[in-house]
Symmetry: C2
Subunit: 652 residues, 2 copies
C-alpha cells in the first residue's frame, strides 16, 4: 500500500550509499535482459534531464525489453544484440511522458505524451514531501494538539487515493498519520478522523477536514520486538553447501537454467527458464517470463477516511522499489547468495537496495520413496507499507516451478471509540482486535504474468473439465464415473476461468510437440487459494481491478501488456488493463501466449493478527504434464555444473 | 488400497521380531488413552482365543476408548482411572463379533454379533493366503503360462471388491498380479485380463475368468531406484537439537501439550492437544482428538477388472497397519525421536512396526518480521499398496495446527494393448504413460475427524459468508463492499458445507468464552484442496463414500462415530457412515461437537508420474481465531520444559 516507516528510513540510507558509491563498475555480462546497472541508470538520468532541461520527476525507469523475437535471435547469434533501450515514465510540466532512451546511442529516441487515464508510480520523494507538508500545515497541527498528541511522535505517510468516477482527476495522495509515543509499532496507533489531501504536482494541500475525534489505540501490547525468538538461533540455520552457479543474472542448478533480473515495479523477474532433459540431452524452454504483475488490496470500509483504500501495490508504489534488504541467516539460510538491486529515485539518481534477492538450495525434509527432494529458491521480500510479502520462486528437479507468497507484517488497523465488542451496534467493517482498534476486512489479490513457452513459443491453453458420465446397467455395475474432457481455448474469452471446485484443470501445451507415446507436451497449473472478486462489477475499485473476476486469463504475447492494472495505475480508470485488453477476444490457440493467474484471499482479521500477523502462506505450482517422457529425476544428470557458488556474490 | 510387496516383506520381519522379542516390559505411564502395549495386545489375544476356543481370526484390536467425561474426570483425579478396555473385531464361525475385553478384569465383558452390513478390516494373513491360493490354482497357472510369463516372477495381491448393490455378500477379495522379471517396480507391470475371486472365510476360489490377454508393460524404464540422489546427502540433514519432551505418549513443546498414540486402523492419533496461554498463565485445550478417519480412492475405469476399485484404505486395510518403518536421516531429520507401533496380527499375536512415528522440531526457513518460525512435527508414513501417504501433524508456536499430506509412490497402472496415443479411439479411462501402460483416473479423498474442544467441550460451528452489499450514492463513493455474516449451525444439516469459492469460512467457537474485548474464542479451518465428489449420488461407491459430498460436516460427540465410512467398511452399504448419522439432524449448537474435514483431489495421471510420482502435497490448517488476546508468540514462554529429548526414545 504505502511506504512504511522502515522503508522511509531505508530510503535515506540507500540514497546515501548511492551518492557516495559513485564508481560503479560496468557489467561484464551482456545478456539483453540484464537488469539496468547503476551506471546505466545514472546515464539514463542524465540523458533525460538534459533532454528536458532538468525539469523532470522520475517515476519509473525500466528496461524497454526487446521483442521476444529479437531475444531469441540473439541467443542463436550473440553478436546481434538488440539495442539496449530504457523506458522512462516521467512527469514534466504536469504531464506524463513515456520516454525511450537508447543507451547505445546515448540519446532519447522517443518522447510520447501519455494521453490515457491514470498516473505512473508515485516516487518516494514526493510521498515524503507530501507527508512533511501535512505536518507543517497549521490546521493539521491544531488538530493534533486538540487531540493532546505530540507532533514529534507522529509518523505520517502518503496513501494513494484510487478513482471513483471522476472525469478529471489530479495526482494526489491523502496523508495518514500514526503515533509512536512508546511503541515501535506505529501501525497499530492510527490517528483517525483527519483527512489531508495533497496535490503532488503542485505539492500543496488541496483539502483538509477534521471530521471526528477517535481515541488513538494504546501503545501497550503493540510492541512486537520485545520477546526474543524462543527456540531458533543461528545454529538452527545450518544448511548444506549449495550447488548452483550464478553470474549475477544467469542461474544454473539441477538442470534448470534461467535469467534473474530486477525491475523497480515488478521486483524479481524470471526469464527464459529452461530445464535439461536427460533423455533428449537437450535444454528445453518452459517459461519465457514470470513475474508478479500486480497486487490489489481493497479494504471494506465505507467511512470517509477509509473508503478510498483500494490499493494497487505494484502499480502505485512499486513492488521492486519496496524490496527490503535481506539479512543473512535471518531471512535466508547459510550459503545463500545475495543480489543487490538498483533503481532510479525521483531525481534521476540511482539508488541501491542491498541484498534485495537471495538464492539458496532448499532441502524439503519431505521424503519420497527414493530420495529427499531438493530445490532452488530465489527469494525477495517486499515491505509494501504495513504488509511484508515474501515471494519465493522455487525450482525443483522434478521440473516443478512452485511460487509461494508468505504474508506477514502488520495489519492496517483503524482507530475506534470502542473498547469492547458489546458496545458495537453499528457496522465497524471488521473485527475489534484490541481496545480502540479495528482490523478492517480486506482482500489480497496477486496476479502473476506467466509467459510460458512450453518447448517453444506456440502454445495453447487446454481447459480440462472432469465431467460425470452416467453408466447404464448393461455396461458396468457402476452408475457413474468421471471423464477428463479437454478443449483448447480458441480465443481470449474461452480462457477466462474461475477455479475452485477442483473439477476444472488448466494446462498449457505445445500442440506441435508430442511425447514418444503421443501426448502433447505441457505444463499444468496447480492453483493455490482461488478466492475471487466479491465487489460488484460497477464498483470503481473493481473496474480497476477487474482481473480478479477470474483466476485464469490468457493473452497473446504482446510486450506492452505487462501490467494487469495498466501502465499508469495510480488513479487509473481500468480502461488499460487485462480485463479490457482481452475484450478484443484475440486468437490464442497455437500462439505465443501468456498465462495470468490470480492468487487471492479474503482477510477477516482476528486478534492473533495483532500486533503482528503470523505468516499466511499461499502457493501455486506449474507442474510438467507429459512434458517429460517419465519422472525426470530418474535420469542421471550429468551437466557438470555442480560447483559451489561463491558464498556471497553480489552484482556490482 | 492393498498391501504392497514391501509391506508383505515388512510383515514377515515384524512377525519375526515380535515372536522373538517376547519379553515386553510393561508400560510405566498410565494415561487412559495410551496405545495398547504389546503385553496388553498379547493378553487380549489370549483372552479372546480362550473365550471362543481358539477358532478366531483377528481383524481389529484397538482401545475401547473411555467416554470423554471419564477421561476429563481422570485428569482432575488421576486415581479414578477408567477401566482399561479393548475393542476386538473378530471373525468367529463366519460371523463378525464385537468383543470388549476388560484388561483390569482379564476377561471378555461383552461379545456382540455384528448384524450390520460390511466386514471389518482385512487382516494381512488372509490377504497373503488368498494371493497364494491364486498362484497355486491350475487354471490361473495356465493363464500365466499362456501369456508366456514365468510364475516365479509373479507378485500377487488381494484387492478389496467394494459393494455394488448385492443384498447378500460374502467376505471376498480379487487377486491381482504384477510381474517382476527385471524390475523392482512391479506396480508398473500389471498382468491384466484375469479375474480371480477368493472367498476369505472359506479361503477358496469362487470365481475365475481369463477374459482378455493384454501385453504386460515393459520392465524398461520402470526402475526408480537406479539413479542416486543427486544432491542430498546426510550432511544435508543437519538440524538443530530439538527442545521437546516426550514420555512415549505425552509430548510437550513450545507451550503445546498433547497425547500421541497409535491405532491399527487410524494410525497416528493426537489427543488432548492444549496450548499454554502466557497471558492467562493457563494451559488451554484446543482439540480433544484428531485423526485421519478414512481414505476413499475410487478409480474411474468401467472394465470388468477395474470397475470395483473403489478403495477405502483405512477401513479395509488399516492406515496404521500400513505404517512403514521410518529411516533416520532419510525420512526424518537428525535428532528426530522415533516411536514404535504395535498391533495385533490375524492370529492374535502382537506385531511391531519399528519407528512408525517420528517427532522433530522443524525450522521453516520462512521469515517473519521478527523471528524464524519453528514448529513441532509428528510424522507417520503409510504405504497403502502402491501409494505412500506422508502425514505430518505440525504444531506451531502461533497456535496453528497444520496437517500436511504428501502423496507419492507408485500409480496403480493398467496394462493395455496400446503403445501410442494415436492408436487409441476408445475410452481408456486415463492417460497413456508408457507403452502398454495406462495411468487410470482416480480421486483421493482423506477425511479427518477433528474433535475440537476450543477452550472447553461445548462449542459451536460458525459459518461465515462474505456477502457483497450494495452501497447507495449518498453513503459513499463506493458501490459495494463485503460483510462477514456469521451464523452458528443449529443442527447437523446446517453444517454440511461445500467450500471452494473462498467466500465461506468455517470456525469452531466456544460460545461461553470471550476474549477481554468480547470476541468469541475460536479456531478457524483454513482448507486445502477442496475438490468434492464427482460420482453420482446413486453410484454404489458414492453411497459408501458419501462423506465426500461436502468438505465440512459436524456431528455431536459420540464415541462410536469414529469412522466416516462406518465401523465395518469392507463391502459396506453406506448405511453406517457419516452421511447417514447426520440424517438424524441432531442439535450441534453449544454442544460437544466434532468437525469433519475432507481434503480431496482428482488425479488425471501424466507421464511424469511414471514410474514414480513426484510428491503432491496438500494441507489444511486449524488457526486460532480470537482464541488468544494477541499474537501468542509475543508472550515470553516460561514453561521450563525446554530440555533436550532423549535422542532415540522408543516405547517398549
Amino acid at each position: 500500500m504505502v511506504p512504511s516507516l522502515k522503508y522511509v528510513i531505508f530510503f535515506f540510507i540507500i540514497l546515501f550509499q548511492s551518492q557516495i558509491g559513485i564508481s560503479f563498475s560496468s557489467q561484464d555480462s551482456h545478456h539483453p535482459l540484464n537488469s539496468l546497472t547503476p551506471l546505466e541508470l545514472s546515464e539514463v538520468g542524465s540523458i533525460v534531464k538534459s533532454h528536458c532541461n532538468g525539469n523532470v520527476s522520475f517515476h519509473y525507469v525500466g528496461l524497454d525489453e526487446p521483442n521476444k523475437s529479437h531475444i531469441l535471435r540473439w541467443i542463436s547469434n550473440p553478436h546481434s544484440a538488440p539495442p539496449r533501450r530504457v523506458l522512462v515514465l516521467a512527469r514534466i510540466h504536469g504531464a506524463t511522458h513515456e520516454i525511450i532512451v537508447d543507451l547505445s546511442r546515448s540519446s532519447v529516441v522517443s518522447d510520447r505524451l501519455y494521453q490515457g487515464n491514470g498516473y505512473p508510480l508515485l516516487n518516494i520523494e514526493e510521498q515524503v514531501a507530501a507527508s512533511s507538508l501535512a505536518t507543517s500545515y497549521p490546521p493539521f497541527v491544531a488538530s493534533i494538539e486538540k487531540r493532546g498528541l505530540k507532533m514529534e511522535e507522529l509518523v505520517c505517510m502518503s496513501f494513494s487515493v484510487g478513482w471513483f468516477g471522476e472525469e478529471k482527476s489530479r495526482r494526489m495522495v491523502r496523508v495518514m498519520c500514526y503515533y509512536l509515543d512508546g511503541t515501535v509499532n506505529m501501525y497499530m496507533r492510527p490517528v483517525e478522523g483527519i483527512t489531508v489531501a495533497v496535490d503532488l504536482d503542485r505539492m500543496e494541500i488541496i483539502g483538509f477536514r477534521d471530521r471526528v475525534v477517535v481515541p488513538v489505540p494504546k501503545a501497550q501490547g503493540t510492541d512486537y520486538t520485545g520477546s526474543t525468538p524462543s527456540d531458533a538461533d543461528d545454529e538452527d540455520k545450518d544448511a548444506p553447501l549449495c550447488h548452483f552457479t550464478f553470474d549475477g543474472h544467469v542461474l544454473r542448478w539441477g538442470g534448470w537454467e534461467m535469467h534473474v533480473s530486477f525491475d523497480m515495479r515488478a521486483g524479481l523477474v524470471i526469464s527464459m527458464a529452461s530445464i535439461y532433459d536427460g533423455e533428449r540431452d537437450e535444454q528445453r524452454i518452459v517459461m519465457y517470463r514470470g513475474f508478479l504483475s500486480e497486487l490489489f488490496i481493497p479494504y471494506m470500509d465505507l467511512t470517509e477516511e477509509w473508503y478510498y483504500r483500494t490499493f494497487f501495490d505494484s502499480g502505485e508504489l512499486g513492488f521492486g522499489v519496496s524490496a527490503v534488504p535481506l539479512v543473512p541467516l535471518k531471512d535466508c539460510p547459510k550459503n545463500a547468495v545475495f543480489v543487490d538491486a538498483y533503481f532510479t529515485s525521483g531525481d534521476g539518481m540511482p539508488a541501491r537496495t542491498s541484498n534485495a534477492f537471495c538464492i539458496f538450495e532448499k532441502h524439503a525434509g519431505d521424503i519420497t520413496e527414493v530420495r529427499p527432494e531438493s530445490s532452488l529458491v530465489v527469494r525477495m521480500v517486499s515491505a509494501v507499507g504495513n504488509y511484508d510479502y515474501i515471494v519465493d520462486w522455487e525450482f525443483k528437479q522434478t521440473g516443478i516451478i512452485r511460487v509461494t507468497v508468505g504474508m506477514t507484517g502488520l495489519l492496517e488497523v483503524k482507530g475506534s471509540v470502542y473498547t469492547h465488542k458489546d458496545q458495537m451496534h453499528e457496522e465497524v467493517y471488521g473485527t475489534i482486535l484490541a481496545e480502540n482498534t479495528i482490523g478492517v476486512n480486506h482482500d489480497h489479490f496477486l496476479i502473476f504474468n506467466l509467459d510460458l513457452d512450453v518447448d517453444g513459443e506456440e502454445n495453447s491453453l487446454i481447459k480440462t473439465d472432469l465431467k460425470t458420465s452416467r453408466v447404464s446397467r448393461d455396461v458396468s455395475l457402476r452408475r457413474s464415473y468421471w471423464r477428463a474432457e479437454s478443449e483448447a481455448a480458441k480465443t481470449e474469452s474461452d480462457a477466462r476461468i474461475r477455479l475452485g471446485s477442483g473439477a476444472t484443470m488448466v494446462s498449457v501445451v505445445n500442440p506441435s510437440k508430442k511425447t514418444k507415446i503421443g501426448n502433447n507436451v505441457g505444463y499444468k497449473l496447480v492453483p493455490g487459494s482461488v478466492a475471487g472478486a466479491l465487489l460488484s462489477d460497477d464498483d470503481y475499485a473493481q473496474i480497476r481491478g477487474a482481473f480478479t473476476k477470474y483466476n485464469v486469463w490468457v493473452t497473446p504475447y504482446n510486450k506492452t501488456e505487462k501490467w494487469a492494472g495498466g501502465l499508469c495505475t495510480d488513479r487509473s480508470h481500468g480502461d488499460d488493463s487485462l480485463a479490457t485488453w482481452t475484450k478484443r477476444d484475440r486468437e490464442i490457440e497455437n500462439k505465443d501466449i501468456v498465462l495470468w493467474y490470480t492468487l487471492g484471499f479474503h482477510h477477516v482479521p482476528c486478534q492473533e493478527d495483532f500486533p503482528i500477523m503470523p505468516t499466511l502462506t499461499e502457493s501455486f505450482e506449474l507442474r510438467p504434464s507429459n512434458f517429460f517422457e517419465h519422472n525426470p529425476t530418474l535420469y542421471k544428470q550429468e551437466m557438470g555444473m555442480k560447483i559451489h557458488a561463491d558464498s556471497n556474490f553480489s552484482v556490482q
